[in-house]
Symmetry: C2
Subunit: 210 residues, 2 copies
Amino acid sequence: MPTVEQARAWYPDYDPVHGFDHILRVLRMAERLAQAEGGDLEIVRAAVLLHDASGAETGGEKRSEHQYHSAEFAKKILEAEGWPPERIAAVQHCIRAHRFRGDEAPQTLEAKILFDADKLDVIGAFGVARTIAYDVVMGWPFYAEASDRFRLTGVKVEDETHSSYHEFLFKLGKIKDRLHTQTARQLAEGRQKFLNAYFEQLDAEARGEI
Amino acid sequence: MPTVEQARAWYPDYDPVHGFDHILRVLRMAERLAQAEGGDLEIVRAAVLLHDASGAETGGEKRSEHQYHSAEFAKKILEAEGWPPERIAAVQHCIRAHRFRGDEAPQTLEAKILFDADKLDVIGAFGVARTIAYDVVMGWPFYAEASDRFRLTGVKVEDETHSSYHEFLFKLGKIKDRLHTQTARQLAEGRQKFLNAYFEQLDAEARGEI
């Protein structure tokens, strides 16, 4: 089993969105979900520690495929530790299936737990902070007015500027409904409300309403 | 009178904390305060457009003295426009007195309006976003546990990590009480509550309480 100290070396010294503090929060949450929902804790832990370990750097070119790079990296690490092939495959499935915009959906309880724990860290106060931090790394503004077309279809009109507020409308405002486990959905209630209230306040301040 | 378009050129293309979108929000707020409180609108506007125009870059070396650099810059700009010396001096006073950690306190209504409008942009949802963005530029974490000594005195214990949460405890949580005009204090009520609720949620999530 890879240790937390071993995992620290796989992550950059500073990445405000996908750095090691994110991994530690997801680990604690995944353990909490597994305690309530069941699942193989060793597989859950290994999957959490390895899920962003290769190609996930914020703003990096490989980000859109980091689930595959990290699953390959996991295989090497776990083979070197002498894990049996079927347990390595189980960890790899969790990692490949952890993305909101991914091709592979979580099939096992362990994969659902990683997905849910990871998504709970994009809502709530840390979710707000990570969304804003992503903006800063990408050079986007916090807020830009969203067109009616974007609100309805997720497709921007010509010259429409991207912003955190757009990320909220497209993805972040509906995370709760995408979660798999009952325990995570319950925990998500308060965090989703908090995140949505944040972006409603941002919108109202930007419009000069309050 | 310097125009908004002219002022745009004095600010960097992208600065998430002290960029031109901050100037535009402060301008709108200062006009709103002046409408309710009175004051010379031409002086208020010139002071807003020029208050961060020299040395205010986030993370820059001159930041701690940007009020003096910007006041000098303002003098040059307004002299070139043929402003009379006493009106230039009035704008310069506003600029020198706009900082929370400054030596010069606002004496005139116009200086109080700039101070208050600027501080309203560090609380509320934009305040949260700018605080988080400052962290990212400086390479600080969003959250680190605060010692009892820091909570009581604002002085850290050895090895205590700085974070947004520390900025909240030291400065941001009490902005409302530092404002000068009645109108700004009223507007600050909701924004201060919002900001404080944000950092309380961040703290609770970090501790795994919710």
